[in-house]
Subunit: 151 residues, 2 copies
Amino acid sequence: MNPAANFDNMAWTDSACPVARTLDLVGDRWSLLIIRDAMDGARSFTDFQRRTGVARNILTDRLRRLVERGILERETASSGRRQVYLLTEAGRDLFTVIVAMRQWGERHTYAQHEDHSVLVDKSGLPLAQLRPIDSDGVTANIDTTTVLRDS
Amino acid sequence: MNPAANFDNMAWTDSACPVARTLDLVGDRWSLLIIRDAMDGARSFTDFQRRTGVARNILTDRLRRLVERGILERETASSGRRQVYLLTEAGRDLFTVIVAMRQWGERHTYAQHEDHSVLVDKSGLPLAQLRPIDSDGVTANIDTTTVLRDS
């Protein structure tokens, strides 16, 4: 568990489900857009405000919550003049979730000739498509998998 | 693009970003919990209500939106007596997003001996960890990737 986070006061929607816990922590549009922007280099309140276009009171609330939940940490910038928000290790690890959302959006929400931003590696090439893989190395889907409770 | 969906009336938060489009369509806790439950076999209004515990008016609204957005389709059950909600192809393809959220939740929100549900394949074994992979076959992260705009 993320040592930076304090979940003692979390009223989990469905405590035994890891999907639901993730959603309780980061499952709203503005939080995930803030995380997206932090991954892309946003650090200050103004950075996040300009990129997301979110109202200041909502941004203040979401940044506070993301710090409390161990996704961001707040530091004083080296200039000593302003606060910056940096992803924690747990926050950085949401990269896989953001990439999965990006790839789904690319596949399902654009018409053929519509432009969109692209995530590229150091060679300027797109990442491979994420695919859930089962224990035999075969692509898994909802028909080949089952959720077991009370593990 | 998903032929079932009609996005003409969508006011995208950030139209050029596939992450943001995905969040505009499904980026709220209840929608993603409904999608999770549909993947796990929930079909009727009562199924979704019982599993998520969501208020009926919110569930009605989210089911309607997910149908409009091409994630679920509504059909009359074979008994002819009730409506059921089935994932479309685009909805089924959110499996990767849900698995990414599940795996992040497993890694970061449970104490060492805390129980949680487990997603298993036909052999009863967990799926491999999803990892973004770059064009050289190496694990990618936020330091090794860049978002290019106006592609």
